[in-house]
């Protein structure tokens, strides 16, 4: 990498490229290098500066100042930077690329601080967005269902103010005042976002929705506090100030007016609640909320930050995680080395957990956040492990109120995290869960974490890891050995069925074909035994043959899947098949789930059979005590959904290639026709058509192009037919699922008059202490009991000791994990009754499933409503509605 590039890239970092840690010197050095390079490689410079500003947004103030200095000497070049930024910004607005819009607006604001842009230009941009926002929420002219887009624009404006609020106030006080008034007016006409169904904790969902502030109101409050503090904040460096004397001499450029994308029109003047809901859902998918604040730590623990500093640090962290996904080293080092003069480990942990648990889904796979947490534990071995442990404890405390989807993610994360740190955890703290009833959420959590640990490792090892709390062994899953009904180990127990099984094993060993085995079944077994015995012998025996590993399972299914298909052709027999799988693998939840999943993959089991089996009494009875049935249900839904997504992807790609094939075919045809109709002189006589060789070639081109076009079209049609089928399967799945939920809940839920709210179910459960006011945490004083106090970080100091080599994990001080023992054994009782917990858990899953697949459920929502119309319990309706993000009052 040539040096100007690395200087740009590394500016602000402690690195060999720069001698000191003085930001002023960084800027001067970088500026000098760029100025020298400018005459040779202007284009590269332009591209690279923009790239850096976009992908390293926490360094934008530094880049802004460098560009400001360049503006003093290379005005034309800087004009190009401004123009390119504006073009990119405009493109991002039209395409709805939220991250780009937000970052480029920040860059424009910072350019204004460095006198590169006219303040009025920035204000005009703000005002255009604001007026667009106001139009969107206007009932007459706009489309209020798209408020998500309007909120996004206003959020972007507010987000710029920490970077340039002070400068705007100084240079364009009246204009910025106008913007603020405009925002206030917007806030008064928009609808409060109630966030039903997206909060991490059930309790927030019931109370916070109406009373609390939504994300935009919250940001507005923070900005107002900032404004009343004279726009002073610690988290945004202002390097341009030390160059102000020079910068004022620069020529400030203007921005062109921007345009915002049009809105989908409302189809009718009177909009049904359902159409409104569908549009709203669409808008929220396109303009998702970036973060939902997760307050994990007790107020006295977290850093005592100004509300706006907290916001800025969250922005930095989210940006680093977004732009450095896949670059572990840089991601961790930027996250721990933010340009702020205060500590922020607790905030960092809260931000990462808020993403890991973000509903409906995080921007990246949950596994990414596992990796980030692992890397930060290695980068800050003295501080971060204890902070993470604290988060686990705090979340464990409130697990009974944690959303079901979040619980599942937390289990998967925690087991994976521990597997990276030798499975060390102070389990004795949680030994008390053994005294809780088996449905107590804390107990179920421990049990499921252990289950996942065993899957990632092995039974004996995990048993050893809980030796500090030997009682917890009780919660370990059984050793995962098969339970083969026709095992021949015990000779005395041999029955006729054993002999059949042995015979089948022999046939398989002799490599008989599926067809031969089918005839053996039909001619030898079935006539002499009843169907049930036949099925059991064949299924159990094949399962046993495929039991040694995942590959053995696949091999047996590929070879003898037809046998199973033949004997289990309908839903009834497939339910029986699943039951047999569960008997065979009763000691191994992973193999059970895996086997059912594979069989669904080979279409030996339908998703409807799985739903029916999941809702059979034996499973329903463990809805609240085990993740096992839910795992199988989740797999079945996600497989159904994956089929749809895969087909959609293929169809899109076929459509693209069809379009280009059509163009090619048309051109070939035109060429041929042109050539055919051309008048030529042949032997002095005029004749129609060009020389025969060329004609022949063109004709063959045209034919081939046409053939290709047709073949793509055929493929496309085939895929479209498959998609129709997949969508039908999806619809059938959800309808059956909701009907089953309705039925089982109807049996269990108390009368609506006695349980109108979830709180009524947990009546004896003290839920008051769980609602933590998000505002409170930022204004309370920091406790100094952890002795850390407020050590200040120099902006460019090296916070990062080199991460230890991967294979020296033991060098991390694991004792720190235990230094932070607060709580943990506070609640030794769990007062929610079994039936109530069953209802709570089941409703939690109803909500989680509805939310996760909302996009696939909305198109069939009318049919779901028909199911709900049949005397659905209000709590069930509420779970479905909040999962779909649908206001409850909108319905009957």
């Amino acid at each position: 990498m040539s040096s100007w590039r690395s200087l740009l890239l590394r500016i602000g970092d402690k690195c060999p490229e720069y001698n000191s840690s003085d930001p002023r010197e960084h800027i001067e050095t970088c500026f000098g290098a760029l100025r020298r390079e400018l005459d040779h490689s202007e284009g590269e410079l332009l591209t690279f500066i923009l790239q850096c500003a976009e992908q390293l947004p926490h360094k934008i103030p530094l880049y802004g100042t460098v560009v400001g200095l360049l503006n003093l000497e290379k005005e034309e070049f800087v004009k190009k930077i401004v123009d390119s930024t504006q073009t990119n910004f405009q493109d991002a607005l039209i395409s709805g690329n939220c991250d780009r819009v937000r970052i480029l607006m920040r860059f424009l604001t910072v350019l204004m601080c460095s006198k590169v842009l006219q303040p009025s230009s920035v204000v005009v941009t703000f005002e255009s967005l604001l007026s667009s926002a106001a139009t969107i929420v206007d009932e007459e002219k706009g489309n209020p269902s798209w408020q998500a887009q309007a909120d996004f624009y206003v959020r972007c404006i507010l987000s710029c103010l920490p970077w340039g609020g002070a400068e705007l106030l100084e240079q364009a006080p009246e204009e910025i005042e106008r913007v603020m008034v405009g925002i206030e007016a917007y806030l008064s006409i928009r609808k409060h976002v109630s966030d039903e169904g997206l909060s991490y904790f059930e309790a927030d969902d019931e109370n916070g929705g109406l009373e609390g502030t939504d994300f935009l109101e919250d940001l507005w409050n923070r900005i107002q506090i900032l404004s009343s503090n004279g726009w002073k904040l610690d988290s945004v460096p202002k390097p341009h100030l030390s160059f102000e004397a020079q910068l004022v001499a620069g020529k400030s450029h203007d921005l062109n007016p921007i345009s915002t994308p049009g809105l989908p029109d409302l189809p009718l003047s009177t909009v049904s609640e359902i159409i409104y809901g569908k549009l709203k859902h669409e808008a929220e998918l396109k303009y998702p909320q970036r973060i939902r604040r997760l307050n994990i730590y007790p107020v006295h623990k977290a850093e005592d930050l100004q509300p706006i500093d907290q916001f800025v640090v969250e922005e930095y962290l989210l940006d680093v995680m977004f732009y450095f996904n896949g670059c572990r080293k840089e991601c961790a080092s930027f996250m721990v080395g933010l340009p702020v003069p205060f500590r922020y480990e607790y905030l960092m942990a809260e931000t990462i957990f808020s993403q890991l648990l973000l509903l409906p889904q995080p921007p990246f796979k949950p596994m990414y956040y596992t990796l980030v947490i692992i890397d930060l534990c290695k980068a800050l071995p003295g501080a971060f492990p204890a902070v993470v442990a604290g988060a686990v404890r705090a979340l464990f405390e409130r697990i009974a109120d944690l959303d079901m989807e979040c619980r599942t993610r937390l289990i998967l994360w925690f087991s994976h995290h521990l597997s990276n740190f030798q499975f060390i955890w102070p389990w004795e703290e949680w030994a008390f869960v053994l005294d809780l009833p088996k449905w107590a959420p804390q107990r179920v959590f421990v049990q499921e974490v252990l289950e996942r640990e065993v899957r990632l490792s092995y039974w004996e090892k995990i048993k050893q890891s809980v030796e500090n709390a030997p009682g917890l062994e009780e919660l370990l899953p059984p050793k995962g050995i098969p339970n083969f009904k026709y095992s021949t180990e015990n000779e005395s127990e041999r029955t006729e069925e054993h002999s059949l099984s042995t015979e089948l094993i022999k046939l398989v060993k002799a490599r008989k074909t599926s067809r031969e085995i089918i005839s053996w079944v039909e001619e030898t077994v079935l006539p002499a035994h009843n169907l049930e015995i036949t099925l059991r012998v064949v299924i159990q025996t094949l399962l046993d043959i495929g039991s040694k590993s995942f590959t053995h399972l696949i091999t047996i299914l590929e070879r003898y899947g037809q046998v199973i298909a033949k004997i289990c052709p309908d839903e009834d027999s497939q339910v029986f098949l699943i039951e047999e799988i569960c008997t065979y693998w009763k000691n191994n939840a992973q193999m059970t789930a895996m086997t059912i999943d594979r069989m669904m993959g080979y279409r030996l089991i339908s998703n409807l059979a799985i739903v029916r089996w999941v809702f059979s009494p034996v499973n329903v009875n463990q809805f609240h005590t085990s993740d096992s049935p839910w795992e199988i249900l989740r797999n079945a839904i996600s497989k159904t959904y994956n089929r749809i997504t895969d087909l959609r992807k293929e169809i899109t790609s076929f459509k693209t290639s069809l379009a280009s094939a059509e163009v090619t075919a048309l051109k070939a045809k035109t060429d041929l026709e042109a050539s055919e109709s051309k008048l030529m002189l042949v032997d002095g006589e005029p004749a129609l058509g060009e020389n025969p060789v060329r004609m022949k070639r063109l004709r063959s081109y045209a034919e081939k192009a046409k053939e290709k076009e047709d073949s793509i079209r055929d493929n496309l049609e085939a895929k479209e037919a498959l998609l129709v089928r997949a969508l039908a399967e999806n619809e059938a799945l959800f309808l059956s699922l909701y009907k089953k939920f309705l039925a089982v809940l109807m049996d269990q839920l108390p009368e609506p008059s006695k349980a109108g709210k979830l709180m009524d179910l947990k009546s004896s459960h003290d839920a008051v202490d769980i609602a933590v006011d998000p505002e409170e945490s930022s204004t309370m004083e920091i406790g100094d009991e952890d002795g850390k106090g407020k050590k200040r970080f120099h902006p460019f100091s090296a916070l990062i000791p080199p991460p230890p080599p991967l294979n020296c994990r033991s060098s991390i001080d694991l004792s720190l994990l235990f230094s932070d023992t607060n709580g943990g054994n506070a609640s030794v009782t769990y007062n929610v009754g079994e039936k109530e917990q069953w209802c709570l858990s089941t409703l939690g899953y109803v909500k989680a499933i509805s939310r996760q697949y909302a996009s696939e459920i909305w198109p069939i929502v009318e049919k779901i409503d028909e199911i709900l119309a049949e005397n659905a319990h209000p709590l069930f309706r509420r779970a479905v509605y909040s999962g779909l993000g649908r206001p409850l009052d909108g319905c009957c």
């Binding site: 890239l9 790239q51 992908q55 390293l56 977004f322 732009y323 450095f324 996904n325 896949g326 670059c327 840089e330 796979k365 949950p366 596994m367 990414y368 990796l371 998967l412 994976h416 597997s419 990276n420 030798q422 060390i424 996942r452 899957r455 990632l456 490792s457 092995y458 039974w459 004996e460 090892k461 050893q464 030796e467 050793k479 050995i481 095992s487 180990e489 094993i505 398989v508 060993k509 490599r511 043959i545 040694k548 590993s549 995942f550 590959t551 053995h552 696949i554 091999t555 070879r559 992973q590 895996m594 996600s638 497989k639 994956n642 895969d646 991967l806 294979n807 994990r809 033991s810 694991l814």
Partner: protein, 254 residues
Amino acid sequence: MASLFKDPNKLSAYRDRRFSGTQEEFEQALLSSTTVYVGNMSFYTTEEQVYELFSRAGEIKKIIMGLDKQSKTPCGFCFVLYYSREDTEDAVKYVSGTILDDRPVRVDFDWGFKDGRQWGRGKSGGQVRDEYRTDYDPGRGGYGKLVQKELEAQRQLVDYGAGSLGSFQPAVPLPYGRSGGGPGYGGGSHRYAKDYSRKRNRDDDRRSHEPSKRAGDYEFNRNSDPDSRLEKNPRFRERGDSDEDEEDNGKRHS
């Protein structure tokens, strides 16, 4: 996403010498592949562990364990095949360098599994890296194969007596911080070449529960001395990869 720090041309530092095409074709294969190569695994890691970890990146199509050519037992690598490219990329991004079964595993894009690639390419049957290693790695069969042979030769020359192996054994950090080395760890000299005790208990129990179960396996027992193999590593699938097996036997029957 972050194009600033990633060298897009460097998809994998490893160039498979068995790939028949050009470098460009190799890179193209890596760019579109839905297969990952997983390296630095413990010999004891099972497919189910791989499944649990890697399915967190996406739906898995297949897992192919790398096997020792001689013993037909896992030799520390595998291929994981996904359905979608995106999941494949996530597996490389999120699993590489993290711990599986106490070891940091390496995950790379692979140009695509072909039959035969499941076998170790070292002279002794395992992976090449285990041929020349001089360190003691209990998860991968102890010392490297060459060192093992050397030690075997020396042992035949001189009878060191019990416990004197200490002089050959470098200080190995104990695998479990709190529990010590586990039963039988680092035993007498007669065991040095096959000190697999660390994780043996996982299937030991299974064996003791069903002592004769293995006899009922559907695959033919082609090993002349199955007990010694079980002794070596009971978590192995004894008769090798079933795909290979199928082909072998298929030929024999057709």
